[in-house]
C-alpha cells in the first residue's frame, strides 16, 4: 500500500487545511463527470478510491484513532456509482446483447449484430452512436445520437448523450476552467462533502 501522503501529493507534516485542499483538487480531477462514458472510467474510479482511502487514513491517524489501518470506506469520500444500470433500454433482447458487448469492449461484434436488425428505431441509432463514441468517432456518434433523439424525443438517456456531445465532453481544467457551468455545482458538492467529512 502506498504512503497516503504521497498519494495526495503532500508532505507528511502538511497542515489539515493543505491536505484538505490537495484532496479536494484531486477529487475534482478524477470526478465521475469527467469520465462519463469514457473507456478509461474504470482507471479514474481506481484513482478516486485510492485518494479516498488515503484521505480517510490520514484523518484517522490525525484524530488519533485508527493508527493507519486501511478499513473499508463507509461512503465518506466522493465515489463512483454504477450508473450504467439505471437504463434498461426497451427490453429488446438483441439490443441488450449489443449493450453488453459494448460494455465488454467488443465493438465490431456489437456493430455486426446491430446491422442485422431490420428495423431502425431510436434505440438502434443510440446504440450505433455509443459504438462510434467508444471508438473515438465523435462526429458520427453525434449524428447518430441526433437521429435517436429525433425519433424518440422523450427518452432521457438519448437526450443526455446528445447534450454531452454538444458540450464537447468534459474534462478537468487546471487553469481556472473556462465556460464549464457544471463544474461550479460539482465543486459546491465537493466542498459540502469535505465539510461533512471534517465533522465526522
Amino acid at each position: 500500500m502506498r504512503d497516503p501522503y504521497s498519494v495526495l501529493g503532500v508532505s507528511s507534516n502538511a497542515t489539515d487545511q493543505e491536505i484538505k485542499r490537495a484532496y479536494r483538487e484531486l477529487a475534482r480531477k478524477y470526478h465521475p463527470d469527467n469520465y462519463a462514458n469514457n473507456p478509461l472510467a474504470d482507471l479514474a474510479e481506481e484513482k478516486m478510491k485510492e485518494i479516498n482511502e488515503a484521505y480517510e487514513t490520514i484523518q484517522k491517524q490525525r484524530s488519533g484513532g485508527g493508527g493507519g489501518s486501511y478499513q473499508q470506506s463507509s461512503g465518506g469520500g466522493y465515489g463512483y456509482q454504477q450508473s450504467g444500470q439505471q437504463y434498461g433500454g426497451s427490453g429488446n433482447p438483441t439490443y441488450s446483447r449489443v449493450r453488453n458487448m459494448i460494455q465488454m469492449g467488443d465493438l465490431n461484434g456489437a456493430e455486426q449484430l446491430l446491422r442485422e436488425v431490420p428495423q431502425k428505431n431510436g434505440e438502434w441509432y443510440f446504440l450505433m452512436g455509443s459504438i462510434a463514441y467508444r471508438r473515438g468517432w465523435l462526429d458520427e456518434a453525434m449524428q447518430n445520437y441526433n437521429l435517436a433523439v429525433q425519433m424518440d424525443p422523450n427518452n432521457l438517456e438519448y437526450r443526455q448523450a446528445l447534450a454531452m456531445m454538444q458540450r464537447g465532453g468534459q474534462a478537468y481544467r487546471p487553469y481556472g476552467g473556462g465556460g464549464m457551468d457544471s463544474l461550479d455545482c460539482c465543486t459546491t458538492m465537493l466542498c459540502l462533502n469535505c465539510l461533512c467529512n471534517g465533522c465526522g
Binding site: 482507471l43 484513482k47 473515438g136 458520427e140 474534462a171 478537468y172
Partner: protein
C-alpha cells in the same frame, strides 16, 4: 506530422521551457547519432511532444551536455538519450519517409521532384529505422494506404478518415510498466492523431478547394465548414486527451505536457478555426493574446 503541437512559451516556467528545449535537442542528437545528418532536418515540435509523452515518469530530469547539430561550435544542455527518445526518433524517420512518398504520388511529375530527392536522401535512414521497428513501419504503410483508399472513394465521414491517422499515431506508443497507463496512453495518442488530422484538414481547406483535392471537411459539410460543429468535435477530442493524460504519471515532464494540452493545442485550434494560423506561422508571432 505537421508542427501543430507546441507549448505556449509565456505560460511555461523557465525550468520547464529549458526542459522542453533539452528534449528537442536530445531528440535531434539522437536522430543525428542514429541516422546521420539528414534525418535531424525533419525534426519538428510534434515529435518532441511524442518524445515527452513516451518518457517514463522520472521525478528528476536526466540531462547531459552535447554539441548542437545545427551549430557544432555550440554546446547545449540536452536530455540524455533514452528509450523514449530512440523510439520517437525511429518513428519520426519512418513516418516522415512515408509521408514524403505519399506526396510524391499525389503531385505531378515536375512538382514531385523535390519530394523524390528528399525521399532518396532519407532512404538509408528509413531502411535502418524500419528494421528496428517493423511493426510500426507496417502499420504506417497500412494506415496511409487505407487513407488513400478513403480519399479515392471521397469518404464522407470525418471520423473514418481521421481514424486512419489516429490509429497510426496510437501505434507509436511503447510499452509502459503500468497496464492502465498504457491504455490511457493509447487513448491519448488516438485523439492526438484525430485532432492533428482534423486541424490539418481544416488548415488546408481553402487550398484543397482551390485545387480540387480531397478534403474530409468539405465532404462532410458539402461546402463551407461549420466552424461551430468543428470546434465542438475538436474540443471533445481535446477533452478526452486531457482526461487520459490525467491518468498517466509523467513525473517532472507534466508541467510541459499540461501546458501543451491545456493551452498550446487550444490556441492553435483557435487560430486555425478563425483562419489566422497561416499568418501567425509565417510571421512567427506566438502571443497568447493572438
Amino acid at each position: 506530422m505537421f508542427g501543430y503541437v507546441r507549448p505556449v512559451r509565456e505560460e511555461l516556467k523557465c525550468k520547464d521551457f529549458d526542459r522542453y528545449r533539452a528534449t528537442y535537442c536530445g531528440l535531434c542528437g539522437t536522430l543525428r547519432q542514429r541516422y546521420g545528418w539528414i534525418a535531424p532536418m525533419f525534426l519538428n515540435f510534434d515529435f518532441t511532444f511524442l518524445a515527452l509523452l513516451l518518457c517514463k515518469g522520472e521525478t528528476q530530469f536526466p540531462v547531459c551536455r552535447g554539441r548542437c547539430h545545427a551549430n557544432p561550435f555550440l554546446k547545449k544542455t540536452m536530455c540524455a538519450s533514452n528509450e523514449a527518445l530512440v523510439a520517437a526518433a525511429d518513428e519520426s524517420v519512418i513516418l516522415t519517409y512515408w509521408q514524403l512518398k505519399d506526396k510524391v504520388q499525389d503531385s505531378s511529375v515536375w512538382k514531385g521532384i523535390p519530394y523524390r530527392v528528399l525521399c532518396l536522401l532519407l532512404y538509408t535512414a528509413y531502411r535502418k529505422a524500419a528494421r528496428q521497428r517493423q511493426a510500426f513501419d507496417l502499420l504506417v504503410q497500412k494506415q496511409l494506404q487505407s487513407l488513400a483508399q478513403l480519399e479515392g472513394e471521397n469518404c464522407q465521414s470525418l471520423d473514418r478518415a481521421a481514424d486512419t491517422f489516429a490509429v497510426l499515431l496510437q501505434g507509436a506508443a511503447i510499452p509502459r510498466e503500468d497496464v492502465g497507463e498504457e491504455r490511457a496512453m493509447k487513448e491519448l495518442l488516438y485523439h492526438l492523431g484525430r485532432w492533428i488530422y482534423l486541424i490539418d484538414a481544416l488548415d488546408d481547406f481553402k487550398q484543397d478547394q482551390k485545387e480540387g483535392n480531397y478534403n474530409p471537411i468539405q465532404q462532410r459539410f458539402s461546402g463551407e465548414p461549420h466552424q461551430e460543429q468543428m470546434a465542438v468535435t475538436l474540443n471533445h477530442s481535446l477533452n478526452l486527451m486531457c482526461s487520459a493524460a490525467q491518468l498517466i504519471d509523467f513525473g517532472c515532464r507534466w508541467a510541459i505536457i499540461e501546458n501543451i494540452l491545456y493551452l498550446g493545442l487550444p490556441l492553435v485550434q483557435k487560430a486555425v478555426l478563425d483562419g489566422t494560423y497561416q499568418q501567425v506561422k509565417k510571421q512567427k508571432i506566438w502571443r497568447s493574446n493572438l
